[in-house]
């Protein structure tokens, strides 16, 4: 019984936690370096009525040298009936241009860090109230630490200044969503391994194999402790039926990450397709030794003739 008041108290804290106040201006946001104001040179597309989504996305894409205008994007991301765009559509449309969409950590300092790195930041705002939202997309293109203003390309205004308090409250009401859109292989200033690789995997899932491959390839050296880049390169090669190439990537994967059961499983499939029946079975056995009863035993039938030199398979020792 003693727990009941605590539950209620905790729930109340959780409920009111949403009304956080505006944080101080991020310390990292320059000023002392003698260049007080940062403003990126980013193309601007003033929005037509209600069409902030296409305008903001066009700004983001054009800043990466993609020849596109807001009008081109309207049929892709504007829902006439709703008089607006959905966040998920903007993200999907950016991917269709082969771009990697990296959602930022929900911190003001991360927006500033990206702008410092020369990356405009797509932000979502709620200009209305929680109970009567008015969603809006804009692009942060700079900031002024002296005035504590953010500078945004928004609606019909180029380089519009918004005081921190105003920006933060509207951003907060949109769950502080912000993203940078970059060519795969370029890294956001605030890039972290898992979110970046998840963004790359989203490209892979949406049919942007070449873009995903480039992102994985660049990640191999940047995050050598992550198994996903090599595995992903193998998966893309496999999906394109380049079996022996896939087997090569999977072999590299399990060489670096012998404990990664899916790596052995995928290797088994690629080896079977490459004409290595017995090695394939051995690799599958390795996978199922690491994770018992996880991987199905039906492997593809190896082709009749193949000039692929089958590798020697040695399962990792399990303690």
């Amino acid at each position: 019984m003693i727990a009941l008041p605590r539950v209620l108290a905790g729930t109340l804290v959780a409920l009111f936690a949403g009304c956080a106040s505006v944080p101080p201006w991020p310390e990292t946001a320059g000023g002392d370096a003698g260049e007080p104001l940062v403003q990126l040179d980013v193309p601007f597309f003033p929005q037509e009525r209600y069409q902030c989504g296409p305008a903001a996305l066009a700004t983001m894409l054009a800043s990466q040298d993609i020849a596109v205008t807001a009008d081109d994007l309207v049929p892709r991301v504007y829902l006439p009936e709703r008089e607006g765009s959905l966040k998920v559509e903007l993200v999907a449309a950016a991917r269709q241009y082969g771009m990697l969409v990296y959602p930022l950590d929900r911190k003001l300092a991360d927006i500033v860090a990206e702008v410092d790195a020369g990356h405009p930041v797509l932000v979502m705002q709620n200009l209305g109230f929680d109970w009567f939202p008015q969603w809006h997309f804009a692009v942060v293109v700079g900031y002024d630490p002296t005035e504590e203003d953010l500078i945004l390309h928004t609606d019909t205004r180029r380089a519009n200044r918004q005081p921190l308090s105003v920006f933060y409250r509207t951003w907060e009401r949109a769950e502080r969503w912000a993203a940078v859109i970059l060519p795969p292989g370029d890294f956001p200033a605030t890039a972290q391994a898992l979110p970046y690789l998840e963004a790359a995997s989203d490209l892979e899932l949406t049919g942007q194999q070449a873009a995903a491959f480039a992102a994985y390839q660049a990640s191999v050296s940047r995050w050598p402790d992550e198994p996903a880049p090599k595995l992903g390169m193998g998966n893309i090669a496999y999906s394109q039926e380049r079996w022996t190439e896939a087997a090569g990537y999977y072999l590299e994967t399990v060489a670096s990450f012998p404990g990664l059961a899916p790596g052995w499983n995928n290797l088994a499939h690629a080896l079977a397709r490459s004409g290595c029946a017995s090695q394939s079975a051995e690799a599958l056995a390795c996978a199922n030794r690491l994770k018992p009863d996880t991987f199905a035993s039906d492997l593809p039938t190896p082709p009749e003739n193949s000039d692929f030199v089958c590798p020697t398979i040695q399962c990792p020792a399990i303690d």
Binding site: T11, A14, A17, L194, E204, N235, H269, A270, F295, A296
Partner: protein, 133 residues
């Protein structure tokens, strides 16, 4: 007191449904190659699990749990059996909690999990909840 009891039961039933839907957990063997995204999901879950586990090491949390009569090892077991999506939910809420309130927040989350397990009679921590069975 009576009205609060009724209210909690409804919330708990809702939680069961919500979490039940979130935990449709496949146990069948994987056929074909494993997707990159699946490996990442699993990795993400492991990171989330570790960060929850490290929360348990904090003194305030230990104290709060013992005041409630909850055994720490029991909580650890619960965390081990959470699915990736449940872990992600927890961490999402943790990340959104203002600095300094994360301890209270995390305890509330634990409590919600325990309320559900109580209803299923897997545990018996809250005397005000009646077992479904």
């Amino acid at each position: 007191m009576h009205s609060i009891r009724t209210y909690l039961r409804q919330i708990s039933l809702f939680m069961i449904l919500a979490m039940g839907l979130a935990t449709t957990w496949s146990t069948t063997a994987v056929a074909g190659v494993v997707g990159t995204g699946d490996v990442l999901t699993e990795q993400r879950a492991e990171v989330d699990r570790q960060s929850l586990m490290s929360m348990l090491e904090r003194d305030e949390v230990k104290e709060a749990l013992s005041t409630m009569g909850v055994d720490q090892s029991e909580v650890e077991n619960r965390i081990q059996s959470l699915t990736p999506s449940e872990l992600a939910d927890f961490n999402e809420q943790l990340a959104e909690a203002p600095v300094g309130q994360d301890v209270v927040g995390i305890i509330v989350l634990f409590l919600l999990v325990f309320i559900v397990t109580d209803l299923l009679c897997a545990t018996n921590i809250f005397s005000f909840i009646n077992c479904i069975r």
